[in-house]
């Protein structure tokens, strides 16, 4: 044993001396940093920045959708909670970061397009981030084509096309999210390409890890900006899956090695994006801790977790609902709008307009506003008291209760009478005894839906409960229909007799709660009017808040509003439509989202060419005729898979969407198409032009075509930057398509 220790020590000594020796090495040789600087990239970044940042603060007025994103920036600045169903919060947060850096205090009323910004709005820093993202697209397009193993010339072509694409410029120069989305889309593609090029010679090297991780992070950033980013993520994932499948088939690698490769990809492309996505929401929820105008959409528990709002009311409520508790009951489903179980003195009309009869008892409805008539008292059917005993007797799952309406002291009742608007369900009323052989049926069995065990206690806010009618086993349900005038347009509440399974509209939760103290009706009324007192705090875990917020964002349905500039996906490819973003209040200077039509047309043409050539080669390869060398074919396929795939996944899903669509939704797809364009041109030049003469002619044509694209860019420039007022005749001359809506002032 001693020997062993001795040997260990010896080894340690050797190691230490080795280390020392290494350190001495630094003394012997000078520290050298070598850097390759691709001046192309630098130059491209320079012109990109110039084109996107030039006169960024002009116009100093709200342009188009800035009115929409601006209000969320203000909410971030004021830390007020909001709910926006258009996308996850990362994009909004990035924009808000610009405001934060510029010292924006959030005090601006974003109410109308064209409104002049007040002096406290840091327009430059707000617009800076999207503009930077837009500017970096230029060098990134260059890099992507280079990583696809095409020539510098083609890469420069791709970058220069992105540079002079008017629609991309317009969209980058404003407080909008598309350019950031496209940035992350391209970043994920670029880093994946870098990673897969490193795969061949240096797997598991630091740069290999870096690009792999960056792919995952960029993907989740894209998803975090708009849900649309998911499509690019899926594309990258599927390309990675195909590569991984080849890796599995590679029998030169050991099983362990393959396993490590797969594990690394899983971690970087699945787990990291999920974690990053959660992180966005975590930061979002940390930032927004104050209650705000969108609280109502969220559940009571969520609202209670925000500062102010419901939390102020419910702070200090007793947790366990007991016999004698005074409660308000909120419908958990909250559709068509959040509301509380309500009753009032008015009765159902004796005869409805369609001739059916009612019970003529007191109406029970669901009411979307806080009101003293929303208070109910939970009563033990066996006793008469309406106060909480000492100690309070908590109510458990399965207990039978009666619900007493606080202000009228009538009991919640349902019976075999058709409901006013849903004749297949039972009417719910507060019982009035008319002595006409219609006995009271006011016993309800309490079922806690989200219980953990069958002996759970009914808890304020947390418990979601159903009320099952004891006599008819009907369930108290919000039908969602609006009652006519006699019911004050409140929402109909019914007893659902044929329970066709679980539905959230049958679930209620206690929102406000206090232990009732007064037995006398008059005192009780006073008590109902007064606010609640006792104190307990409750917090919702992050995951619970996240899942609720995410779910509400996905299911929130805003009314489809028509928009003057909305368009259909088919109009995008041919640029049949435009969007007027802004018009100068006095002159005719205006900003339009309008693409460089030469680029749009030729990009589509290039894609068709690609598809035709691809199938031609594919079929010939199948017959063992190889037109292209193998490596050339592989990179041709990869370029197509990325660019055509990127176009398809970012474009085709719009045909299935039912929301209002705009031209700018096409820009991510367009970017992929533009990158494909020089690739196809180079291919035609290298493989289809047979002689030197043909090549020269083709190059000349390409140059001519590019100058025409530049010319179009220059012609449309006044509409892109909005800096020069044009005369009506000039504007009319710019209206190259009848469907373009260019604003011409009538003087």
């Amino acid at each position: 044993v001693d020997e062993l220790i001795l040997m260990r020590e010896e080894q340690l000594g050797i190691l230490l001396s080795l280390l020392f020796y290494k350190m001495l090495g630094f003394l012997r040789h000078p520290l050298v940093v070598t850097a390759d600087i691709n001046l192309n990239v630098v130059a491209l970044t320079g012109v990109g920045l110039l084109s996107r940042l030039w006169r960024l603060t002009y116009p100093r007025a709200v342009v188009f959708d800035e009115v929409y994103y601006g209000q969320y920036i203000s909410f971030y600045m004021k830390r007020i909670f909001f709910l926006d169903d258009s996308g996850p919060p990362f994009g909004h947060m990035l924009l808000a970061l610009g405001g934060y850096l510029g010292g924006f205090d959030g005090n601006f009323l974003w109410n109308r397009i064209g409104a002049e910004y007040s002096s406290n709005v840091p327009v430059w820093s707000l617009r800076l981030l999207p503009a930077l993202a837009g500017a970096f697209l230029v060098p990134m397009a260059y890099q992507i084509v280079l990583e696809l193993n095409f020539s510098h010339c083609a890469a420069m072509g791709a970058a220069l096309l992105v540079l002079i694409e008017n629609a991309l410029i317009t969209q980058s120069r404003l407080i909008l999210l598309e350019s950031v989305l496209i940035f992350f889309n391209l970043l994920s593609v670029l880093s994946y390409l870098k990673f897969s090029n490193l795969q061949k010679h240096s797997p598991f090297s630091p740069s290999w890890w870096f690009w792999l991780m960056l792919t995952g992070v960029a993907c989740s950033c894209a998803v975090g900006i708009k849900y649309m980013g998911v499509f690019t993520y899926l594309l990258v994932l599927s390309i990675a899956a195909v590569h991984a499948w080849h890796l599995i088939g590679d029998q030169t690698l050991s099983n362990v090695c393959v396993f490590c490769h797969l594990l690394a990809r899983t971690v970087a492309l699945l787990i990291i994006p999920i974690l990053t996505y959660l992180l966005f929401f975590y930061v979002h929820l940390i930032l927004l801790y104050r209650s705000g105008p969108h609280d109502q959409i969220m559940s009571s528990a969520f609202q209670a977790s925000l500062e102010g709002g419901l939390a102020r009311i419910t702070r200090g409520q007793p947790l366990e609902v007991a016999y004698g508790s005074q409660v308000t009951l909120r419908s958990v489903f909250g559709k068509p709008m959040p509301c509380w179980l309500h009753s009032h003195q008015n009765t159902y009309p004796m005869i409805y307009e369609n001739g059916r009869g009612s019970s003529h008892q007191q109406q029970v409805t669901c009411y979307p506003f806080k009101d003293v008539n929303n208070w109910w008292i939970v009563k033990d059917p066996g006793r008469h008291q309406l106060v909480v005993g000492n100690p309070p007797r908590p109510i458990r799952h399965g207990d039978i209760v009666q619900l007493v309406h606080g202000m009228t002291t009538r009991l919640l009742n349902t019976h075999d009478v058709a409901a006013p608007l849903s004749p297949h369900s039972q009417e719910v009323s507060c019982y009035i005894d008319y002595n006409i052989s219609m006995p009271a049926q006011n016993l309800w069995r309490l079922e806690i839906v989200n219980r953990e065990s069958d002996t759970d206690v009914w808890k304020t806010i947390m418990s979601e409960v159903r009320f099952v009618h004891v006599n008819t086993s009907a369930i108290l349900k919000l039908s969602g229909a609006h009652l006519p005038d006699w019911g004050f347009r409140q929402l109909e509440v019914v007893g659902e007799k044929l329970s066709r399974g679980f539905h959230e509209s049958m679930v209620w939760n206690v929102e406000e709660h206090r232990y009732g103290k007064s037995q006398e009706q008059k005192e009780r009324e006073l008590e109902l009017h007064s606010p609640t007192q006792v104190d307990i705090s409750r917090n919702l875990s992050f995951m619970a808040r996240f899942s609720e917020l995410q779910w509400r964002m996905l299911t929130l349905r805003t009314d489809d509003s028509e928009h003057k500039y909305s368009s259909t996906p088919l109009e995008w490819v041919t640029l049949d439509t435009n969007i007027a973003y802004w018009l100068h209040p006095r002159t005719s200077a205006q900003i339009h989202l309008l693409g460089n039509i030469t680029i749009w047309a030729s990009a589509s043409l290039a894609m068709v060419t690609y598809a035709l050539l691809f199938f031609w080669y594919l079929l010939r390869r199948r017959r063992s005729i190889r037109d292209l060398p193998e490596d050339c074919w592989l990179r041709w396929v990869l370029a197509g898979a990325l660019c055509c795939g990127g176009w398809a996944v970012n474009y085709l899903p719009f045909f299935m969407m039912e929301k209002t669509l705009f031209l700018y939704h096409y820009l991510p797809a367009l970017t992929f198409q533009i990158i494909l364009l020089p690739v196809v041109l180079q291919h035609v030049n290298d493989h289809l032009c047979r002689s030197q003469l043909q090549r020269s002619v083709f190059s000349a044509l390409v140059v001519a075509w590019y100058s025409s694209a530049c010319h179009v860019f220059n012609t449309l420039r006044p509409l892109t930057y909005g800096d020069t007022p044009l005369s009506p005749s000039e504007l009319r001359a710019l209206r190259w398509r009848d469907s373009w809506d260019i604003l011409i002032r009538k003087y």
Binding site: P336, L478, K564, R623, M656, E658
Partner: protein, 820 residues
């Protein structure tokens, strides 16, 4: 690739078989063509059983040798059976891989010629017998108590009614294509049903009306599902136990049984889907004999079944997709076979285009042609269609009507909105109430024909009576500026910058002026969609837009229902968005002008392609219109495979005769488990193959069955299930049943393969044989027993509900969401 199985053929086996006559156009150059049996082109499965049945006659010593493949000979077709099949090179290169050539050779060498021939006959008989048993059992279960309950169940109220419409020849509208309902109508007609029953609501008694013909027809088609599934599985897996298991799962599934017993479209749809699937796999097996009679037969049968499936419901598109994918991969393989010339390739391609595209399309259109010919009387569906379409229907007021062809000044017209179920431009002597725009006369759209729908076309600048006989007739042309005067109230159609009552972004449309004298807000420019300036405007056929001259907005109907003050008619607005949508396009329907000659509407009758297109547009819109409301209970696609909730076909209370559509939970949960298990084993095998792991020949063969046969079934399940997640329309439980058929086939294939693999692992021990037999038998018996438990769901039950211990279903309510 086509020739590879021939390697396995020992010379001895080849000589025992009669030579195949040269088939027409065969491009195959390999020897295998000689090895077909001309006698039984359609019955490959029979060899299987026969191999098995013949086995006992082998001397024991030979048995041991036969088992060298380490597969225990079990009931039905063991692998030895498939060895025989493969040896003959018929129908299925994939199964042939299952066999080591040495085994086959030895086996063949030892089988005396006479024995093979004798046993083959025996085999064939056995195969037929088994098929007959399966079919009989299927028919017996489907037809048992078919007449109960003698009242309308669930959707019988729709489809029975539509069958009656065919018998009565009245036109109706439905979101599904017509074949299914036409067949129901035909079945009713042939069985003596006279079309007089009203089919008002579920629960109505049929009484003396003959309904058994229609139910019997559906049950007849529904019964064929099981033999079809049986044959399909047999074809792809070459394994009798797998086929039997599939057949048992489907026979004993209460859901399939219930769905087959009533007048519904689903049995018809599933019949065609399964027929397409069966003929597709049959045809796949004939790859080695292209252009033979059986090849053509199965190929065209596939096409016919596809047309049938699509003709019943649009869900048929999914099976078309599956067949399409299969055809593409098939063609791709052929294309890669360099021994085939491009001319042959062209023939292959044309054959598929003919049988799988042209033939189904022709049949599909023929179905519609019959539909339009049969339904020639006006009925409840008229309103959904355009005016020109209605002119076809006898009894409709446009039928055989004669009206002036071109619109002229002074004409009295009705104007119909082109949006479905939107109605005629209408006005009446009521004003918009206080606070809603200007207090002028209301303009709405109204669905019914009424005098208040009449408008007079006038020139915008003169108020002279254009009907004055001294003046010449002046036609209205595209681009003219006109004024529309309401005939009853003499007010002009008017719009102005006030917001519309419901759609706030649009402008209000009112009736304004006295006796035709108004202001410049009454002027409208009339435009025909896609026409040049100066063209006349045709009644019925021109699609016109009315553009308000002053504000530049377009007259449209928003489709929203006005409140009480507007008599719940639909809102009319002037929309500033100039997009061409159907909301803002109108056509002139009735047209009265004494100065013009009337022409018969027959010349305006739309051509067949136009009718076809229009009815498809209407169906599509109808389908999209079936949207669930927020607070309704709707069945979600994720409910279905877990059998979360059934559908009540009949009866609620304990005194009613109750039928409840619910899958047999044992079968369904087994299917669910099988899908998970399949994904696991399938991906495991695929990764192993990709890693180049060398599998023993038997396992290799089994994994091919698993990956290809199982893959096809899985693809079917995926295609028939996942698209529903994307559908916005209202969904029901029964939409899952086509997918369920595929999932049952997958279950059959998977368990048979897994048990064989287990048996192979344990081969030397005595357990080996028992595992396979026991496994399959216990699965069969298990499903049969569960059917015994759950059969009241399908055959109907009376008595207390399941909560009650006295109920026949007591203790069987395994999920709270089932309510029977």
């Amino acid at each position: 690739m086509l020739c590879d199985t021939s390697r396995l053929l020992p010379a001895g086996a080849a000589t025992t078989l009669p030579a195949q006559p040269r088939s027409r156009g065969s491009a195959l150059r390999c020897r295998r063509r000689e090895l077909h049996f001309p006698g039984h082109p359609a019955l490959p499965f029979c060899d299987f059983l026969a191999a098995q049945l013949a086995r006992p006659s082998f001397p024991p010593g030979r048995r041991v040798i036969l088992r060298r493949g380490r597969m225990p000979p079990v009931m039905g077709g063991s692998l030895a059976g498939s060895e025989r099949r493969a040896r003959r090179g018929r129908c299925g290169p994939q199964a042939a891989r299952a066999v080591g050539p040495d085994v086959a050779a030895e086996d063949a060498a030892r089988s005396p010629k006479r024995l093979v021939q004798g046993s083959r006959r025996f085999k064939a008989a056995g195969g037929w017998a088994l098929l007959a048993v399966v079919t009989l059992l299927s028919f017996a279960t489907r037809f048992h108590r078919l007449d109960e309950p003698p009242h309308i169940c669930w959707d019988e109220t729709h489809f029975g009614k539509m069958g009656s419409y065919y018998i009565n020849r009245t036109f109706f509208f439905d979101v599904h294509p017509p074949l299914g309902k036409m067949l129901i109508g035909l079945a009713g007609y042939l069985s003596g049903y006279d079309g007089t029953f009203l089919f008002q609501k579920p629960g109505d008694k049929y009484e003396h009306h003959s309904y058994m013909g229609m139910r019997g027809f559906c049950a007849f088609l529904g019964s064929w599902l099981i033999p079809f599934a049986y044959l399909t599985v047999l074809e792809v897996s070459k394994s009798l136990p797998a086929a039997l298991l599939t057949a048992a799962l489907l026979t004993f599934d209460t859901g399939c049984l219930t769905l087959s017993q009533y007048i519904l479209l689903d049995p018809i749809l599933m019949f065609f889907i399964m027929a397409a699937m069966l003929s597709m796999v049959k045809y796949n097996s004939c790859t080695d004999r292209p252009f033979s009679a059986s090849w053509w037969f199965w190929l065209s049968l596939t096409g016919i079944s596809l047309a049938g499936a699509l003709g019943v419901k649009f869900v048929g598109l999914f099976i078309i997709l599956q067949v399409g994918l299969n055809t593409i991969s098939d063609l791709w393989h052929l294309f890669g076979d360099l021994s085939l010339s491009l001319v042959t390739m062209g023939k292959h391609l044309i054959a598929r285009i003919l049988c799988l595209i042209v033939l189904p399309l022709a049949l599909y259109m023929a179905i519609f042609a019959v539909h339009f010919i049969v339904l020639n009387k006006s009925g409840p569906g008229d309103g959904f269609f355009s005016s020109a379409f209605q002119a076809r229907l006898s009894g409709n007021n446009l039928h055989n009507a004669s009206i002036p062809e071109h619109l002229a000044y002074g004409s009295v017209i009705t104007v119909k909105n082109l949006r479905m179920a939107s109605g005629y431009l209408h006005s009446h002597r009521h004003l918009y109430p206080e606070g809603i725009g200007a207090r002028q006369q209301q303009v709405t759209t109204y669905l019914h024909k009424d005098y208040n729908n009449l408008w007079i076309v006038k020139k915008h600048n003169t108020n002279s009576d254009p009907l004055d006989p001294s003046l010449p007739v002046e036609f209205v042309r595209h681009g003219d500026i006109i004024r529309l005067e309401h005939k009853e109230t003499s007010r002009n159609l008017h719009s102005h910058y006030h917001e519309a009552p419901l759609t706030r972004k649009h402008y209000q449309v009112t009736g304004y002026g006295i006796n035709g004298t108004g202001d410049s807000n009454d002027f409208w420019r009339i435009e025909v969609v896609n026409r040049k300036f100066g063209n006349r405007i045709k009644v019925l056929r021109s699609r016109i837009r009315l553009i308000h001259l002053v504000t530049g907005c377009v007259l449209g109907s928003s489709g929203k229902v006005l409140p009480k003050w507007g008599w719940e008619q639909l809102e009319v607005t002037c929309t500033p968005y100039l997009k061409e949508t159907l909301n803002s396009i109108w056509n002139v329907e009735d047209h009265f002008n004494p100065k013009l000659p009337n022409i018969s509407l027959d010349v305006l009758k739309p051509s067949f392609p136009e009718i076809l297109l229009e009815s498809h547009m209407v169906m599509l819109r109808g389908n999209n219109g079936l949207k669930p409301k927020d607070n309704d209970f709707t069945s979600k696609p994720w409910h279905w495979p877990i059998n979360y909730q059934g559908l009540r076909f009949s009866g609620i209370n304990d005194t009613d005769f109750r039928v409840y559509l619910l899958g047999n939970p044992v079968v369904w949960w087994l299917n669910l488990l099988s899908i998970a298990l399949y994904l696991l084993t399938g991906s495991f095998t695929a990764v192993a193959l990709q890693r180049g792991v060398h599998l023993p020949a038997e396992v290799e063969g089994l994994s091919q069955v698993l990956l290809r046969g199982g893959g096809q079934a899985l693809l079917g399940w995926v295609l028939h299930y996942f698209p529903f997640f994307l559908m916005g329309r209202i969904l029901y439980f029964h939409h899952y049943f086509p997918a369920m058929l595929f999932s049952s086939m997958l279950t059959g294939i998977l368990w048979d393969t897994l048990l064989r693999l287990c048996a192979w692992r344990l081969a030397p021990s005595s357990l080996a044989r028992g595992i396979h037999v026991g496994g399959i038998l216990s699965l069969l018996l298990g499903t049969a027993y569960s059917f015994y438990l759950f059969h009241p769901l399908a055959y109907g039950m009376v008595g207390p509900l399941a909560q009650n211990p006295l109920s026949p279903m007591a203790g069987l309510r395994w999920l709270e969401s089932w309510d029977f």
